[in-house]
Symmetry: C2
Subunit: 399 residues, 2 copies
């Protein structure tokens, strides 16, 4: 049973009812879901979660779905946390972990946001949803909307990963390729929303996607027996994951379930698209639009995130940092991780391996700290990154 109470603007604090669809606040701020945590504290024991059927909906008290018949699930969440010891030793980190979101129904963490976003849309009776996407969110929302019987309109950059296009197509979404970046796709969707009355599910323009992503924070805390690790590295594009994890940790603290210091949240970006890193270094509250954004890690090619100010706040309040890595480092570390740990991850995730290497070398992270890399998806969605050269053997050849 959900303890969802109301929606609250992250900028001005205005409250909105939970019973009808909402997008942004009048002031332009993203809305956040607020729960009756006082009642949760009294009525819920955190040990209950692990006795339930696996998947993110086992955290139902802290999710916004009020009637379980509206839950649209494909088995998302409860992805493995693995200690990466071989690579950890090479990098000089004794307690290096990866949470592998590749093991989600659509191969990325976007399944989480879509599961909760689409379930809530079904609960609110929404018929058509529209969204811009860098690629993977479009694939995920397409899958869940197909199961829910909700129509989805998606716009993504023409150069989005081939597999994201195929996903949107195979699930039957109305999909447009846009000659430009995700920000250009966003403009086209906004116009369509105004014209057709579709529900706008762009990042942070609907309040429920964060709640899905938030469960990564719960799972990490539970994995460490309801303690926090020392640091979490997160590949930062729209930043919903880092905001979700931050929100999860605030809720856990408010519930009194964890009393530790919150982990250092570390936003990793690519050199070619680094608005959060710039803003962090310059000490500003918001980021500036990054012109000519360019990186092979398409999921973090977001020139200006709507929730940039929340990301920056979380990074600062958690004593974290924001760093950038080169595309060449991403490619190199993706390969090294595969060859040492048997993990073929997405370039966004590989940026974290490059990032942790840098932060250990610089001393920002210490060798005995518990460090979690939040890998957002599978390398299988980026086949073009691997240029294999393999020998061909004739029938009956000797090898």
């Amino acid at each position: 049973m959900s303890y969802f109470n109301y929606l609250e603007c992250s900028k001005c604090g205005e409250r909105y009812s939970k019973d009808e669809p909402h997008n942004l606040c009048h002031c332009g701020g993203p809305l956040l879901v607020k729960y009756d945590l006082e009642r949760v504290k009294k009525e819920v024991n955190k040990d209950i979660f692990k006795t339930r059927k696996k998947g993110l909906f086992r955290f139902e008290e802290l999710l916004p779905i009020e009637d379980e018949k509206n839950i649209v699930t494909l088995g998302e969440g409860d992805t493995p946390v693995l200690k990466i010891q071989n690579l950890g030793e090479k990098l000089g980190a004794k307690e290096l972990y990866i949470k592998n979101e590749a093991l989600n129904p659509t191969g990325t963490f976007k399944s989480r946001g879509a599961a909760v976003g689409i379930s809530k849309a079904k609960e609110l009776g929404i018929k058509t949803i529209a969204m811009p996407t860098a690629g993977n969110a479009g694939g995920a929302w397409s899958a869940y909307s197909s199961k829910a019987g909700i129509e989805l309109v998606v716009a993504m950059p023409e150069d989005a990963p081939e597999l994201a296009k195929k996903e949107a197509y195979v699930y039957g979404s109305k999909t447009y390729l846009v000659k430009g970046l995700i920000s250009d796709a966003g403009k086209i969707i906004s116009k369509g929303v105004e014209k057709h009355g579709w529900f706008d599910a762009a990042t942070l323009k609907e309040p429920y996607r964060i709640e899905g992503k938030k469960t990564m924070g719960f799972e990490i805390a539970e994995y460490f027996n309801w303690e926090f690790p020392d640091a979490i590295l997160y590949p930062t594009g729209g930043g919903v994951g880092i905001i979700g994890i931050w929100k999860a940790f605030q809720e856990l603290k408010e519930l009194g379930w964890i009393k530790d210091k919150v982990p250092k949240l570390i936003a990793v970006q690519a050199e070619g698209c680094n608005p959060i890193v710039k803003a962090f270094n310059e000490g500003t509250k918001d980021s500036e639009f990054c012109k000519g954004a360019n990186t092979i890690a398409g999921g973090i090619r977001v020139p200006k995130a709507l929730g940039d100010f929340i990301v920056l706040d979380a990074v600062r309040k958690s004593n974290g940092t924001a760093i950038e890595v080169k595309d060449s480092e991403i490619v190199e570390l993706l390969d090294i991780l595969a060859k040492t740990e048997g993990l073929f991850i997405c370039p966004e995730g590989a940026s974290l391996v490059a990032g942790v290497k840098k932060l250990l070398r610089e001393g920002f992270l210490k060798s005995d700290e518990k460090i979690v890399l939040l890998n957002t998806g599978s390398g299988l969605k980026y086949p073009d990154l691997i240029k294999e050269k393999l020998p061909v053997a004739e029938i009956n050849a000797d090898i």
Copy 2:
């Protein structure tokens, strides 16, 4: 703790010690792992499994790894079982389920066999493993051997799925493309094994892969609260999965944990490669080599399986059947499943949707039976099956 007792030949019954590497029996029969089930019955309560950390190694008593430090895990197993209601209604099945093996570390059920096979190889001190593969097993064994620090030599058909080649390559296996079928790759590996002394891990030539696959059977039984569903459809190539599930069900019955009738096991093949279907229909014990084997579902393009006689025996003893479907039906049902259930699965899995449609129509399966489709992998590994045509929008276009 494992209750592994000894290895036993599936043909002549000869026993082999569990403490050194073995391949086939002297008589040519595959070896099967035998446990001390009498002791398990006395000492283990089946409710213990669900209290453990998720993943297939939670069934440790019924797995062959004796020291947990040898476990090589990437978080495999415990994949979701989903009720597919939208499509079930269309097909006239009230209780249609899919177990989605796409949510494994390498995107297919091959992760299970590799996890147990590589862990046991590590336990036995094996340094180099060689295997032929249709593609996905090579990807999976490459991943786990990379983590374990074991050298892997792989041979796969030149026309294996692109992504399987990329996986073997990125994980650093010594990989050969062979101008021929998996049977030709097998011959090349056999010669290499003889020449170099590598450990041969071809399907059923090592006894532990089955044990990994077996856990699918445990998970299905547990999902239905330790009862059996009425039927399980399985895409049958080498047949290790169906043999594993059959073995799991025999163990559960011997343990007295389930008293039901075993589910009808249904082997689904493609028209272009149907040796098991032919043998089933002709009433023979073994299958004949299928010349010119051809289907888009590469994982079931196995012209002659070493364990064909075990598959046929399991299908018959379970009152199941063996059926073939057309490639065109596979493509059609893959698309329908994606558009109705939000599941983009591999063509091998889609063959089951075509199969269940046929068996419901013919009356072999009834509308109120509990039917499980065992989808072996993700559609993401077969991008070429989706030929998307998407409109391109200019910047600031109206949609």
